[in-house]
């Protein structure tokens, strides 16, 4: 601990109008360490990162780099000082191809290519326009671009949040090696597994102030959570499958039944059912067709074959409004896809109420207020900056996307990675919420990139690989190893514990396995 810090920030403050994003934050990073920055949603992590890297200006505070006080006024200046960020939102220019994006930032191409390969993307076409690249890959490219210039301090803001397990693993591996190579990394994540696997120390923020710096050691998690949230939280295993689960009993029809769904080359003969009061998980590696499956169920894209049934009746969706009419709500993983960023929290939540032609008339403001506030309360959305959703922290924005459908009282909710970038406390809330919804006879289809979540919330896990349902596990059997095996398309060894689906449609497993 005798080495002097590479980066030392103290007393950093930033106000947005009435909102104090940062009050008194400090952060000190030693050479060669991987330093976690932790805090609940809205604690000010991203704001601190933006200040350190010159994207916004602090109202107060002192920042020393290698003991020198530097005035970093722009990301370009930060880059010259050896500080390179990967922000929470992708920073590639959407209309330029990857190569041009590299030239724009003066990034050497060959090291970039090497890093991309290292990070688990063997076949990147660098003439592809960024707009056409999936979000997860973009995040990785963003990281590779930063790595390619070998920065002294690499700042990663929720780098792994949008990544599927396989890519996240690679990223962690690479970041780890950065530390070993003597470079420092500031690592923001809400996932404790990653923190404990990767980081040396952690700085914890609460309400814009640094409340502690700790060494990462086994069992420290409880401490951190306590610091982050100010209170001790009950880390319960919410799951404990609801009693009504597999009682997709004889008489009651499934809420949602998908038969032989086909979508170009993306989805192939997908069949499964979602029962009333069930939370079914979908687990898959990146790009196995899960995006398309959700989009098709939500009425966003039209399947090329197969059928969808709701409550036993066949439906055809030509627009999301059809799905909504059938009681199916879709929460996309990318919140910029779901929110009107300049509008208020209230308007965003109430948006579906006005969608139909017959709802274009005068709004009953009082009733709306009641419905919206109860949804806000239920998800504990931090409404200090509620005038415009874009001013909420990333996690709170995510909550608004869910609150909308709680307010609209949707009967079936398709959640695509809803806990992306959400802090531990809130995650627990969301798990509980999903279980509660199931208890109220609602159904949830839940895609997640975190294995742990699947086990915690779901009654059943559907695994997708290469556009096919390869296996279905009751939650008891959904241990990490078997889920991973299935997700990589490997056949299940024993045939004794066949999933529910297999009984419905014999042979589908055999097909997938071959």
């Amino acid at each position: 601990m005798t080495t002097s810090p590479l980066l030392d920030a103290t007393g950093v403050a930033k106000n947005y109008g009435a909102v104090a994003a940062l009050r008194n934050a400090s952060l000190s990073v030693l050479p060669g360490e991987v330093h976690a920055l932790m805090g609940a949603n809205g604690a000010g992590k991203s704001t601190l990162v933006k200040i350190l890297t010159g994207a916004i200006r602090a109202d107060a505070g002192r920042i020393l780099i290698r003991g020198e006080q530097l005035d970093i006024r722009s990301p370009a200046a930060a880059r010259r000082a050896g500080l390179l960020p990967v922000y929470q939102e992708p920073a590639l220019i959407p209309d330029l191809d990857v190569l041009s994006n590299l030239r724009l930032t003066g990034t050497p191409v060959e090291p970039f290519r090497a890093w991309v390969r290292e990070l688990g993307i063997p076949d990147l076409d660098i003439r592809e326009t960024a707009r056409h690249i999936p979000l997860a890959i973009l995040r990785v490219l963003d990281l590779a671009r930063a790595l390619a210039v070998e920065p002294d301090v690499l700042v990663l803001d929720e780098m792994t949040a949008a990544l599927p397990a396989n890519l996240a693993e690679k990223v962690l591996e690479v970041v780890r090696r950065q530390g070993d190579a003597g470079r420092s990394v500031i690592f923001i994540s809400h996932r404790f597994v990653e923190i404990s696997a990767l980081c040396d120390r952690a700085t914890v923020l609460r309400d814009g102030s640094t409340v502690g710096v700790v060494d990462i050691e086994p069992g420290i998690e409880e401490r951190i959570v306590e610091m982050m949230l100010g209170t001790r939280i009950e880390k319960t295993r919410v799951s404990a499958r609801a009693a009504n689960d597999v009682t997709t009993a004889a008489g009651s029809r499934p809420r949602l039944s998908v038969r032989n769904l086909q979508l170009g080359t993306k989805l192939n003969d997908v069949s499964f059912e979602l029962a009333n009061g069930e939370v079914a998980g979908v687990f898959a590696l990146e790009g196995q067709g899960q995006d398309e499956l959700f989009a098709a169920l939500a009425g966003s894209i039209r399947p090329t074959g197969g059928s969808i049934g709701v409550d036993g009746a066949p439906v055809k969706f030509s627009h999301p409004s059809d799905a909504i009419q059938a009681g199916i709500a879709y929460v996309p993983g990318d919140r910029t896809e779901a929110l009107a960023m300049q509008r208020s929290v209230r308007e965003n939540i109430a948006l579906p109420f006005s969608a139909a032609l017959r709802k274009w008339g005068p709004i009953r403001m009082r009733r709306e207020q009641v419905v919206v506030s109860s949804a806000v309360a239920r998800l504990q959305i931090d409404t200090r900056a509620q005038g415009e959703v874009q001013r909420l922290s990333g996690g709170n924005q995510q909550k608004v996307t869910i609150a909308r459908w709680i307010a609209a009282n949707a009967r079936t909710i398709l959640c695509f990675d809803p806990t992306r970038g959400i802090d531990v406390g809130t995650k627990q809330e969301i798990y509980k919420l999903l279980r509660e919804l199931a208890g109220q006879d609602k159904s949830v289809l839940f895609y997640t990139s975190e294995i742990e979540e699947v086990q915690r919330v779901c009654d059943r896990v559907i695994v997708i690989f290469g556009g096919r349902v390869v296996d279905t596990f009751p939650v008891e059997q959904a241990d990490e190893a078997s889920l991973m095996r299935a997700a990589y398309g490997l056949p299940r060894g024993a045939r004794a514990d066949v999933g529910i689906l297999a009984e419905v449609k014999p042979g589908s497993n055999a097909e997938a396995a071959s």
């Binding site: 994207a55 722009s74 990301p75 370009a76 880059r79 960020p85 922000y87 939102e89 992708p90 920073a91 590639l92 220019i93 959407p94 209309d95 330029l96 041009s100 994006n101 030239r103 724009l104 930032t105 003066g106 003439r127 592809e128 326009t129 979508l263 170009g264 098709a296 966003s300 894209i301 039209r302 399947p303 090329t304 030509s318 627009h319």
Partner: protein, 328 residues
């Protein structure tokens, strides 16, 4: 290949439309020849520069309502400076006016950056300012242009190695246009500055975070727009031999051609070739309407309808061309 089509398909389609129109023209007027093509090139000249001026700021995510006024001001300035002056003096006038366009354009950019007022309002304000300035320079149309300048857009260029009949199809005006545009556009397009212009138009925040100096890039984009505007103004003076303080119909025409040319209003997408071809298309349509002696009131209807129809058609094939199953 599919990416080429995705990126360049619009321009290619537009070019096909142009060729088609040339065939139509030849059918309507079998005597349509190289001289008439020269006329077309001269008619295209001011529009093309106006469109180039507009294109560059639209790519940078802005819009320039002051294009036509900029042309008027530079045109009257050039015309009044050359009035009664010697032929050689024009050698000084041309760079002076170009520099003036560059500076005034940069001023647009500076005002946008400093006041943080939306582009559309700033350039609307400068539209009035430049118009007023043009009126102060010349209260009524007048002035003059040097003879060598006027000659620079008339006739054809003998190119060694080309047979005469082919030479006849290379009007000076076209060559001048190509040279002026390429001298600026080609090096720009390949440079980091060019990428920065696309970047700020595509996503300003991401550009800023990628280390692009957003303010400076915006100012440069407007400065280049001013430079193209000055070229447009000079081309007006050169072709008419006078300067007129009332702006011509170049503003809306430039916006229309930019969109027809496949440059997205909003920024980040497209190039210069498409809009220039679009200008040729629009001018040739006018020629055809005149050749056909269509009722002039109907020509307004036809021009409007063509503009809408082409863009609608483009939108339609874009919708159809989406990957299987996708909906608009």
């Amino acid at each position: 290949m599919s990416r080429f089509l995705r990126n360049q398909g619009w321009v290619a389609g537009l070019f096909a439309l142009l060729v088609f129109l040339f065939i139509i023209t030849k059918l309507i007027q079998p005597g349509y020849g190289s001289g008439d093509f020269g006329s077309l090139a001269r008619a295209v000249l001011p529009y093309a520069f106006a469109v180039a001026a507009q294109t560059i700021v639209v790519i940078a995510g802005g819009i320039d309502l002051s294009v036509a006024a900029m042309m008027a001001l530079t045109s009257v300035t050039a015309a009044s400076m050359m009035n009664g002056a010697s032929e050689e003096y024009a050698l000084f006038v041309v760079p002076f006016v170009l520099a003036m366009g560059l500076v005034l354009g940069a001023l647009n950019g500076v005002l946008i950056v400093v006041t943080r007022v939306p582009d559309i309002v700033v350039t609307l304000a400068t539209l009035f300012v430049l118009q007023g300035a043009a009126l102060l320079v010349l209260g009524a149309p007048g002035g003059a242009a040097a003879e060598w300048l006027k000659a620079s857009v008339i006739g054809t260029v003998p190119i060694s190695g080309l047979p005469d009949w082919a030479d006849a199809w290379v009007p000076k005006a076209l060559l001048l246009l190509v040279v002026c545009l390429c001298i600026i556009w080609i090096p720009l397009r390949r440079s980091r500055l060019g990428l920065s212009i696309y970047a700020i138009g595509s996503n300003e925040l991401a550009a800023f975070r990628s280390g692009v100096p957003v303010a400076r890039t915006r100012i440069i984009a407007y400065a280049l727009s001013g430079l193209f505007g000055a070229m447009g103004g000079l081309s007006l003076t050169i072709s008419t031999g006078i300067g007129a303080p009332i702006p011509g119909p170049y503003l809306l025409a430039s916006v229309a051609a930019v969109v027809l040319g496949g440059v997205a209003l909003g920024g980040g997408k497209g190039g210069l070739l498409g809009p220039i071809i679009a200008v040729f298309v629009l001018r040739l349509v006018r020629t055809d309407l005149t050749l056909l002696a269509i009722d002039p009131n109907v020509t307004a209807i036809i021009e409007g309808a063509i503009m809408v129809a082409v863009v609608m058609f483009g939108a339609f094939i874009t919708i159809r061309g989406r990957p299987a199953g996708a909906m608009p």
